[in-house]
Every structure is written in C-alpha cells, then in structure tokens.
Amino acid sequence: MDLSDSVLDHLRHMAALPDLTGTRYELEREIGRGGMGVVYAARDRELDRRVALKVLDAELEGEARLIARLEHPAIVPIHEAGRLPDGRAFYAMKLVAGVRLDHHLARSPSLAERLRAIRRVGEALAYAHTAGAIHRDLKPQNVMVGEFGELYVMDWGVDAVAGTPGFRAPETPLDRRSDIYSLGALLQFVLPAGGPPALRAIAAKAMRADPADRYPDAGALLADIERFQEGLAVGAWSEPWGHRLRRFGSRNAVLLWLLAAYAGVKFVLFFLRNL
C-alpha cells in the first residue's frame, strides 16, 4: 500500500529530527539551515542553559573540530562536539541572541556602524586564516549581530562545494583569497546606495576575478578601510584631483581655517597700516 502524503510528510519530518536520546540536550525548535546542516535551539539539561545545536548532514566532524580550535570574540564558541545516536555529527555552541546582518541593515545603521561590522568580520577572518581555517561561505546570512552590538561570524565551512552565488569566488577550489572575495562582496552588500567611491573600489579590488589581483589578506583590506576612515588615500582607488582636494580640505579643515584667519588678519593689518 502506498504511503499517503500526510504519512510521508510526517516520516520525512520525524526522520530528519536529530535523535538526542542519551545526550544532555533537549530539542526546542529549528532556528536555521546552513550550508552543512540544520541548527536547532536546544536546552542543555546539565548546565540549565540554552544552546544552539548544529546537526551536520554527513561526515563532517572536521568542521566542528576546526571551529573548536578558533578562539576569537567574533567567532561563536563551541561547547561540545560529538556524534548523535543516529550517526550524525553535531556540535553545541553559544546561542546568539541577535539578528542576521542582512536584517540588521534593514534598520539603516550609519556608515560607521556598517564599516565596524565589516572590520569585525575581517578581523575574525584574518585570525582564522592564521589558524589555518577558511570560511568558504561568508555572506550576510552567516553574520549575526547581537543585541549589544557584538558580532559573530557563523557557519565556518569545510566543504569544497560550499559558497553562495554573489558571495562565492569564481575559482575552485576555494582558499584564503576566496574568503577575501567574499569579504569584498560583503562590503559591497553593506554599503548604502551611492556609498563612497573609495569604499566601492576597495570592494571591487577584493572581488577581482584573478585571486592574485585581490588583497593578499584580510588585514590589507581592513587597512585600506581604515585609511578611508582617517581621510587618507586608499590603495584600491586612483583618486581624481577634485576628490583629492576635497579630501585634503576636510582632513585639514582646522589648519586651513587657521591659515585663512592668519591671512585675514594680515590683510586687515596691511589695510590699516596704509590708511
């Protein structure tokens, strides 16, 4: 006898739920689907706290071990990694109370706030790269902004098929430079319409098709953003003269005002002497 649609749907749903028998966790609800599996909110009965439980689709224990090695304020800490009775790998991590970066942008944060988010992501990336980890699927949906402004980069990947169109570098296999591409795409994404051309140029350089033409590392990209914020010329953009003068003017406004005042006083004195 054929299974009815409702029984089939029930079986698909029940068989998909993680089997937590014998573990310290109690399932609450599904909170998201990442590149490698499903994330659930769960309660840790032993420590009486809520955690995020990521259940991986297949043999991807390496992902948990990889992330567990990373200790950085912008990388969500792993509490435990293991294997469920049904054979799937899982890891429990801090449950971040916050919103995804794309939802956060809907609240129209200032340019400085947007750049702060990019800097935090870039710092996490730079750290992870030195630890030998690559994200491979950096996108706004994988960046969480907490209620106190804290930021976490989620969903660190180890699968060569990872990546999201629009944020994924064109080359295969993905490497550290591919993360630089995604960071550039993220910068482009957070910029408001008509954002500063210098920042758009930084994003464009990070997203060049040839990895060798991109920034060599996340630190170099962040340094260019910092130069922009300090009113200096950025390496990614050959600035027109008009822009240079305006930038010089705004960066040296006090000096220019002093010079103008000095010239004004000199002029008045000259005028009075010749009366």
């Binding site: 054929d2 299974l3 029984v7 089939l8 079986l11 698909r12 029940m14 689709d57 009775p85 049904d86």
Partner: protein, 231 residues
C-alpha cells in the same frame, strides 16, 4: 481512472546497498545497479510518464518497462556524469527524452485518428508539475523501501514491539494515539514508548540513507539528495 500499476512492488529484500551506484555499475555489477534503480525509480518513472505524456495505465507501464530495458542495453550508467547533475535528475531527463521520442512516434502513426480524452483526475493533478510528481513519488518509494527494510530488520531481530508502536504512531493515517495510550495498550512505561519510537526512527533514517547511497554516485550527491528528503 484506471488504477496505478502494482509493478515495482511489493518491495522484497534487496541487494546490498553499501557501495555507491557507480561503484556497483562499474565494478562488474551493472545488473545489481539497475535492480536498485528499478526498485526505487520504477513507480516515479511510471507516474512521471503518465502525467507528463498523459498515458493510460497500460501504455505508461509499457513505456516504463521499455525505458529500463533500453537503459540496460545502452550503457545507461556509463553516460552518467555526477559532476553535471544528480542521478535522479539524469534519470528523469533520460526518461523524458525517451518517452517524448516514443510518444512522437506513436502520434505519427495514429495521426488523423481518434481524439485523445484526458481523464478528469489527471487534469486535477496538473496543479502539480510532472517533475514535482516524479520527486514526490521518488520520496514515497524511498520511504516505502526503507519501511520494508525496517520491518525485515525488526522481524529478524525480535523487535516486533518497537515496530508495532512505530507503526501505530508514525504510520497512523488519521489521529495519532497518545504515548500514554500506547503505553497502556502494550503494558509498558511511557518512556519506553518514547525510546522505542526514537529507535525505530533512527533505524528508518539509517535505511533511507542506505537506500539513497545505493543510487547515488558518492558522498557529495548522497548529502545533497538527503537534503531533498528531509523536511
């Protein structure tokens, strides 16, 4: 409307599916590979042909049978490239080409003949695309085979109680019984009902995975197909 076919079921025990489809096909077991494919895909192909080409039961059965016979003759597995599409998609597209050619040939023969009537039920089913019908039938058959595996396993290992509880709860077509009701009915604690259900679901998941492994090219395709199965 005439009844669907009974071919492709009931589902007996099946050859080992521990190795992937391509390993079986290229490792000197092309017949076993095809057997796995037929066990899982006979009904989806048949339903797809019925809805896509509006064939009646007998014609759809004949076309399905011809497709699998031709597939065996024409080195079907050797032409499957896992880097381009999943085996499921490759097979559906092959069926579509095959049935379209046969359908066109049949139409040429009877051009000027009788008007073809479309059964009412089939018109209603057009709310779903034939591709969606194919995928749905694939899921249905996959679970049906995994349920057969689960039943066989329970019988062989003396887990009839677990099976009965699982069938009473998870296969209930109407209202599901309560855990307390099941516990009272079988004279066991409510926690035992929970444990038996968890065990049966875990086993079912394992059998679904094994069946899928048998008709996919490797871990990557298996993982992608599993995502299409779990809701």
């Amino acid at each position: 409307m005439d009844q669907d076919t009974a071919i492709g079921g009931p589902h007996g025990r099946f050859p080992s599916t521990r190795i992937s489809l391509l390993e079986a096909a290229t490792g000197g077991m092309p017949n076993e590979a095809l057997e796995r494919v037929i066990a899982l895909y006979w009904k989806p192909v048949y339903r797809f042909i019925r809805f896509k080409f509006r064939k009646d039961n007998e014609d759809a059965k004949d076309l399905t049978q011809s497709f699998f016979t031709t597939a065996l003759e024409r080195d079907f597995f050797a032409r499957f490239d896992p880097s381009k599409a999943s085996f499921r998609t490759y097979l559906r597209m092959a069926v579509e080409r095959f049935a379209a050619n046969q359908h066109a040939a049949a139409n040429r023969q009877k051009r000027g003949g009788d008007i073809e009537f479309e059964p009412l039920e089939e018109q209603a089913a057009e709310a779903e695309s034939p591709e969606r019908v194919f995928e749905r039938e694939w899921q249905r058959q996959l679970f049906a085979l995994a349920l057969d595996d689960l039943r066989a396993h329970c019988e062989a290992s003396g887990k009839e109680l677990q099976l009965r509880i699982f069938e009473a709860y998870d296969l209930a077509g109407q209202e599901r019984p309560s855990y307390a009701g099941l516990a009272a009915q079988h004279g066991i604690a409510e926690t035992s009902v929970t444990n038996h259900l968890a065990w049966a679901r875990r086993m079912l998941r394992g059998f679904v995975t094994e069946r899928l492994r048998g008709v996919t090219s490797g871990d990557r395709e298996l993982r992608e197909e599993m995502r299409r199965v779990w809701t």
